[in-house]
Subunit: 112 residues, 2 copies
DNA sequence: CGTTGATACCAATCACTCCTATGCATAGAA
DNA sequence: TTCTATGCATAGGAGTGATTGGTATCAACG
């Protein structure tokens, strides 16, 4: 599809949620999962096997920065970058557009 | 993820849009694509290579019925079944839930 | 008539996202 | 000390949907 495809619609949704969760505070992986579950009212229960590859990709793309903290049980704390903030804003825009388009087809919610 | 995972979030979105488009009237593939583009305000431009596998899967699952019409240039007209209507309602429910959960995390729209 | 473009159907293949399963390691509680 | 929660990470696979390309009909135009 062009413009918004059903794939785009989803693509990065998980990444977007991660970025958004990090935009409030720097977190390490495990805490991020809990925060996400909490903020979504228990609906999103992201698995570690889902999260870490996403975090690594985000880091590779420069959207988040990571640093090790603590001794013994090391924690890798992730912090959103300015670039990440921009990307988040862009993804949120896409999400709104996609949501609107789907709802148009569904004949559901009206938007002003 | 449990409950709604980011996959569920998307899963069948294309199928849901197809079912919804067929819920108004029986259509053949090509017309369905045009209708979908029209209803979405031009945002969804589904390719035939995307649509037909979906239609075949929906038919296989008994969610739509198909019949050949016309001579020479044959058209395969798809019609939603009762089972399809139920599935559509279920998918729409999932969509609403997923939408709400994402918006909760994004800290965006409020729902009553 | 031949070419072009719109209509119409379909299969094969591939890319991407995310899940499942698993492994390893540390800290605290029982 | 054994169990559970915490914490990071990779490998493999399932599912969705995009891309590509192939076939065929029909109308319009020259």
């Amino acid at each position: 599809m062009i413009g918004i495809n059903a794939k785009e619609l989803v693509k990065g949704t998980a990444g977007m949620l991660v970025l958004r969760t990090l935009s409030g505070e720097a977190l390490h992986g495990y805490a991020l999962i809990q925060k996400l579950r909490e903020k979504s009212g228990g609906l999103f229960d992201m698995k570690e096997g889902t999260l870490y590859p996403i975090l690594h990709a985000l880091e590779y793309e420069g959207l988040v920065e990571a640093s090790w903290q603590g001794e013994g049980r090391r924690k890798r704390v992730y912090r959103i970058t300015q670039s990440g903030q921009k990307q988040l804003a862009s993804l949120q825009g896409e999400w709104e557009r996609a949501k609107r388009a789907v709802d148009l087809v569904l004949g559901g919610a009206q938007y002003a």
